[in-house]
């Protein structure tokens, strides 16, 4: 009896569905779906058959020294991806390449917002020293599948996608650089604290959405020639100056209309006088950057720069400059060297 009732219910549902499939509206919907799929397939075929657009890099591929030109190069690459071009990153003939640029390149190429899921390719530089740096960086671990190249990585490169702050990674990065540059594995507190604060700051400056977790990248390159360890830390968020909250009404209005450049806020930022936009415990926040600034004066730090939005700050020389391009994110770069 129960089985018969179940069968009747099934038949009712089935016949209702079949009737729906016979309607004009249903048939039209299905026809459009087929056309759409065909269109997508043809577009994909066209894209695959499309040649790569050669995008020649500037000779000096040092983001930290030649910031505007390198930024223009990456901004132009992004424009090509937006135009649905396949991009060939032509860095064969470059004459200078620094670890910071490799970090930026990997972070960009792994960011779907940058590549728009487009295809890209490229070869290592021809110049032997630059080629060695490129292969040892671990670049191919992130952007290619070539097993041969993967095995050559000898430097520390970390991409964080889960937590914002990773004390174990900070410690590993400290030991990795200190063993090489300072010839010790005893804690060097300023280095560890800087790394943690860089990670923590991705919370404040990396994203416009308070709850969104931002990816960050850390690259430590041990340079045998100079006995230095070069640290690059970056997030591709909104940048420090885009995320600051200005309390004063007049200053706020001036910033909004562009009458007040970002360089105007550098002093306050470095002194910890910029208000965090995160409401929770706001009164006790804002000490991370001042701690980084204070630590950068240790002699072990040979170079210390921060690039965010259209501002480049040199913490060692206590200078800053306005850039022509906007870097959407924050980039910290420093080198450590034995002072003995």
């Amino acid at each position: 009896m129960k089985k018969k009732k179940k069968n009747i219910t099934y038949q009712k549902i089935r016949s209702k569905y079949e009737a729906k499939r016979r309607t004009k509206k249903w048939k039209e919907k299905k026809r459009k779906a087929i056309i759409h799929r065909k269109g997508e397939f043809i577009a994909r075929q066209k894209y695959v058959a499309k040649p790569y657009t050669n995008h020649k890099a500037p000779d000096n591929m040092s983001f930290i020294d030649n910031t505007d030109e390198v930024m223009t190069y990456f901004n132009d690459s992004h424009k090509l991806f937006k135009k649905k071009e396949k991009v060939e990153f032509d860095i064969k003939d470059i004459t200078n390449l620094t670890p910071d640029t490799i970090t930026l390149m990997i972070a960009n190429l792994k960011d779907p917002n940058f590549t728009k899921n487009g295809e890209f390719r490229g070869e290592a530089p021809t110049e032997p020293k630059l080629k060695k740096l490129f292969l040892e960086s671990g670049f191919y671990n992130f952007v290619a599948t070539s097993k041969q190249n993967k095995e050559k990585a000898t430097n520390l490169l970390h991409k964080e996608t889960d937590y914002k702050v990773r004390p174990n990674i900070a410690k590993t990065a400290c030991i990795f650089g200190m063993e090489h540059a300072l010839k010790t594995t005893e804690p060097f507190e300023p280095l560890y604290e800087i790394l943690i604060e860089c990670m923590q700051n991705t919370n404040n400056h990396a994203s416009a959405d308070d709850e969104e977790k931002c990816k960050w990248w850390l690259f430590v390159y041990n340079c045998k020639e100079t006995n230095t360890s070069k640290y690059s830390f970056l997030d591709l968020g909104v940048g420090i100056f885009e995320s600051i909250i200005v309390k004063n009404y007049i200053t706020k209005a001036a910033k909004k209309i562009g009458a007040l450049p970002n360089t105007h806020f550098v002093k306050d930022l470095l002194n910890g006088n910029i208000q965090s936009r995160i409401e929770k415990d706001n009164e006790i926040r804002g000490k991370g950057i001042p701690q980084i600034v204070a630590h950068s004066s240790f002699e072990e730090f040979k170079e210390f720069k921060i690039i965010s939005n259209d501002v480049k700050i040199d913490l060692k020389n206590k200078t800053h400059e306005k850039l022509n391009n906007n870097f959407s994110g924050t980039f910290y770069y420093w080198e450590i060297k034995n002072i003995a």
Binding site: R166, P167, P187, D268, E283, I284, G288
Partner: protein, 112 residues
């Protein structure tokens, strides 16, 4: 006031203090505050004794960790009370001790 309790950060908690909040990552100031600091501090206040916090042997005390733990404790109970019941040992580094004391005495940043 007699010292009757102790927190050795390196062995009791971690040699790698981390972020401000537990949601930010491991070994946070918030975790240290909840797991050790508040409990032991309350016991010390109730028992009228001091606790010794041994700061040595760690990789560093990031400002976010310090303000998320010692800063919060100071805001909740007041700097005077905190300093009456907590004493520190920092043989490795005197600057870090100065920074922690500064945070306790003035946990809120300057107004703009």
């Amino acid at each position: 006031m007699e010292i009757k309790d102790k927190i050795i950060v390196k062995t009791d908690f971690s040699d790698t203090p981390g972020a401000r909040y537990k949601s930010d990552g491991p070994n946070s100031g918030e975790l240290f505050l909840e797991k050790f600091l508040t409990k032991k501090f309350n016991n010390a206040v109730n028992g009228n004794y001091k606790i010794l916090i041994d700061l040595d042997g760690v990789w560093g005390y990031p400002s976010s960790f310090v303000s998320g733990s010692f800063g919060k404790l100071s805001i909740d109970f007041g700097a005077e009370k905190v300093l009456n019941h907590i004493t520190f040992k920092s043989d490795d580094n005197s600057i870090r001790l100065e920074n922690i004391l500064k945070e306790i005495k003035n946990p809120k940043k300057k107004d703009q």
